[in-house]
Every structure is written in C-alpha cells, then in structure tokens.
Symmetry: C2
Subunit: 296 residues, 2 copies
C-alpha cells in the first residue's frame, strides 16, 4: 500500500480501435513518474473530462453517479465514450491499494489523447484528502462573481460546454484566486441575468423556510453528485427539496446556505461578499454525518 | 536533426525558487516520450498558457511579439512570469534542430506545474506544419457562433481570462467541431451584444472601402501577432488600417475578410453561414507573400 496510487487505463473507451476485450482494464504506475506526452490534447487544449470521488475508510462514494456524469461530460465533448466497467474496476483497485486513511479522493481523467493519435488517454489517481474539518464546522466565506453567461447558454450555445466537467478549468481557478484576493475562501458564480449558479468546484444548497433548495441543473451548471445525496438525506429526514431558479436576492434571503462537493462535503457559508450570515450548525452536522457514512 | 523536437525548460521562470542562473536554460528531450505528471495543473485544470510560432525555412517569426503575449497571458493567470531569455533560447535551439522544411511551427507551453510543487512546467515543441495552401488560395468557410459573453467582460470580469491565451481551450475546440457539423471549416465568435470577436484560433481582418479593419483588442480577444504583421504589410503598402468595434452587419458588408493566424497565415473567407462571399485573391497573395517572407 502507498500514499498515492495511479492506475493508467489500457483501453479508456471501447470506441477507440483497436479494442481488445481480453486486455487488462488498467495498469498500476508510479504516481510521481511522467505519463503524459506534451502533445496530449488534455494539456495543450484542456480537452478532456474528469470526476473527483470521495473515499471514506477506503470506500469510494457515489461511484455510479460520478461515472454516469463522467460519461455524460465525455458525450458533450464528443470524446470516445468511457468504458464504465473498466473505469469502475480501476477506481476500486486504486482504493484497495491506498494506505488506510479516514478520507481520500480518487480523480478519474479522460483526455482526447495525443494529437493525431486517435486514442484517448485515461487514468485514475488517488491520494489522501486535506483536512476539511474547519470548512465543515466553522464554515466558509464566499464572494459572488459574474460568470459572464446568461443562465440559458447550455441550451442556446452547447459549444460553450456549460454543464460538462471539463479539464478547461482555468476560469474556475482564476475565480478562486479572485475570491482569495477579496479575502474569501471560495466564489459563487452568478449569471448575467441574475441567477445564482454554482461554486467554482461545488454546488449551492439553500435552506429556505424549512425546505432545501438548489439551482435547477439545466442552467449551465453541473448536476452535483453530493447535492443529490444531500437531497437523499433530506428525503430520509422528511425535509422537502426543490430545484429552482434562484436569484441573488433569494440567496441573500435564505435561512442557511452550503457549498456541497466531493472531498469537502457540506461547507456552511458564513459570509457572502463580506456580510456575515447565519449558519445552521445542527443541520450541517447531520448532513455531513450522512454524507460521510454513505455506503453507495 | 529530427522531424519533431522538444526542449524542456529547466527554469521556466526566474520567480520560481530555487533559481540557479548558472543552469542551462533547457534540455532536449524525446518528443514522443512522457514528460508530464498526471497531477500537473496544466492537464487537470487547463491551468497554463501557450503560444504557437510559425517557422519558415527554419526561421521563427514574430518571436518577440509572441513571447510578449506569452508573458502577458502568464500575468493574467498569476503564473510565475516566464524567463523570456530562456524561452527565446529554447525556441531558437529547437528551430536549429528541426529537419529542414518550408513551414513548421513551435509551441511554447507554461503550466502552473504539479499540484502542490510550486514549480511551473515549461517546454518548447516543434514539428512540421500541415499544408495550408488550399486555405490560403481557395479560402475557408466559416460559421458565426455565440461566445456567450458581452464584448466588455475583459474589463468587468477579469477572472473570465478573456484575452489570455490559456490551455483551457475546450470551448474553442468544441466550436470548431460545431463548425464542422455545420459543414464549415472554422468559426467566428460573436459577443452576446452583437460584436464580431475572433476565430477559434485566429483573428479576423476585414477589407472595408480600401482599408483593413480588425476588431478592437480590448473586447476579450487575443491581440494577434499575425494580425499585427498584416497591418505592418498594410503600412508598407500604403493601405489604411483601423481597430474598431465591428458588428455582424459590418462583417457581412465587408469587401473581403480573412482569418489570420500563425501556421495558416491569411485564409480568405469564402462563405459565412453558408452564404458565399467574394475573396480578394490578389490582396490575399500579397499578404501571404509578406507574411511568409518575415525576417522578424
């Protein structure tokens, strides 16, 4: 067992010829060695998709929803469709090799491959997660940032790839730096027509009059795997849930708010644009206990 | 000499410690070997910048404008500032190693490096260019595609990184696929408020009443190195030039239009959204002869 683990997919997609059904799905490789060529379109064009899966006590969570979104993102980019069975086996194998730690993460990455080679590149990487205790208990401060798009571009302009989880995340990382410049921990994107969208790497969930509400997923945002499980928690707890168009005013008026994502799970928002807001510590604890105990 | 050449920068930036001024600027490496780790932020976040430089008869063109834009892009992403002297030496060395071909290209890439390592990754890769004769003589067909942004987002929302040449090019590549789906060779992006912006990997130049006109460079587009040299050609030829806000109507009404870029140089536009338009064959030839003969 080792601290970080890497499995390189031998055949990331059944679409990419030649496909040998008898070949091993993956090969373990040195995580700190070099595995990517400089002409891989994943690096020179950010042309690929990824998922980040939480691993608790060696057990990967929400694997099927992550792999389903991975496949959906790949289709949105006209990438060879990932061979989900091979990826699932690689995820499980990498988790089994990881040093026992309370919380870790697995990242699955599929790129279009080396320019001209017509063969996708794929790997699964796992490492221990950083400590999210402070974010989960004390909460995080966020700023709201313009994403520059209307809320309907996913439908009008699919080539903008909104709603796909691509490797082209430079804007997300720049928004995170802008948040830090403004003294905040994270950013929440807002559409040019005034709707709250999502975090830089997380979904937004609000508590409104006893209900849990999240932005509709057809407005150019990712359908969150953790958000879906927060709603599963709510169903079990008898809390009503809804997907809605949420304005900035709705966000400010909510009783409580969280950014929810793999790895960090539910981080209560304790300030927006420098203005403190209430956090619901009791509900936050219940949500995170549910999320960290997930068996599937 | 070899068909493709790769030089890996030993110290891509003087900002990244430790900086050893006595070390070699770069090391030649096998272009088809693996040089990038899977946790390089260039690949998992598209977090880096690049330039593509034309090489004609072994001579790289517009090197200083390219390196200046490379540095500008790096600053826009808060990357360690590239050590331009080291990059220039690597570009020259790579060109000197390349097999003699009429036209080649050099790509410079700077990434934020492996996550947590605080050390940027940099390389210079060179290869022969594909044949652009048909695009230069017969012309190309384009479609206009919504970029989703207003023309002023570079000023209002700098975290959107418009105007930086980043590795997060998945949208550009998706736009190119959308153009192909519509039977066209390339796409021209248009702002949500109706201004013509740029191609997926090129700048737009119009001929309007005897003048050459290009979109203003403060509207979230790249300042083109080839476009600048087309204007240098115009100055020498006594043709007036201007940077303007150009509407879709202006584009349709222009006497002639080109997408200009490194590698392909000036490609006359012979159809927009399926509607044929005049090309100025004589002026196109003069422009490309000028571009291909550039000594700097």
């Amino acid at each position: 067992m080792t601290e970080t683990v890497l499995a390189v997919l031998n055949q990331p997609s059944r679409d990419a010829a030649p496909h040998d059904p008898a070949a091993d799905a993956f090969t373990f490789a040195g995580p700190l060695e070099e595995h990517i060529q400089v002409q891989d379109l994943g690096i020179i064009r950010g042309d690929g998709v990824f998922e980040t899966i939480t691993v608790v006590d060696g057990h990967p969570q929400a694997v099927e929803p992550h792999l389903a979104r991975f496949e959906r993102s790949a289709r949105m980019l006209d990438l060879p469709v990932p061979d989900v069975d091979a990826w699932r086996r690689a995820v499980e194998a990498v988790c089994a090799e990881l040093d026992p730690v309370r919380e870790a993460f697995v990242k699955t990455v599929l790129t279009r491959g080396v320019e001209g080679a017509e063969r996708p590149t794929g790997w699964v990487y796992a490492a221990p997660s950083g400590d999210s205790t402070a974010a989960r208990t004390e909460g995080i401060s966020v700023v709201t940032l313009d994403r520059g798009y209307r809320h309907d571009v996913e439908r009008t302009s699919p080539w903008l790839l909104q709603g796909a989880k691509t490797l082209s995340y430079a804007v997300n990382m720049a928004a995170l730096r802008e948040a830090a410049r403004r003294g905040a921990d994270d950013a929440v994107f807002v559409s040019t027509d005034g709707y709250v969208l999502e975090g830089t790497r997380a979904n937004l969930v609000l508590s409104v009059g006893g209900r849990l509400v999240t932005p509709r997923t057809d407005i150019g945002i990712l359908a969150g795997t953790t958000q879906a499980d927060v709603f599963r928690f709510a169903a079990e707890a008898g809390i009503e849930t809804a997907y809605e168009l949420i304005t900035l005013d709705d966000f400010h008026a909510a009783d409580a708010a969280w950014l929810v994502s793999s790895v960090r799970q539910a981080a209560p928002i304790r300030a927006v644009n420098g203005n403190a807001r209430e956090i619901d510590a009791e509900l936050t604890t219940r949500i995170n206990e549910f999320l960290l105990a997930r068996e599937v």
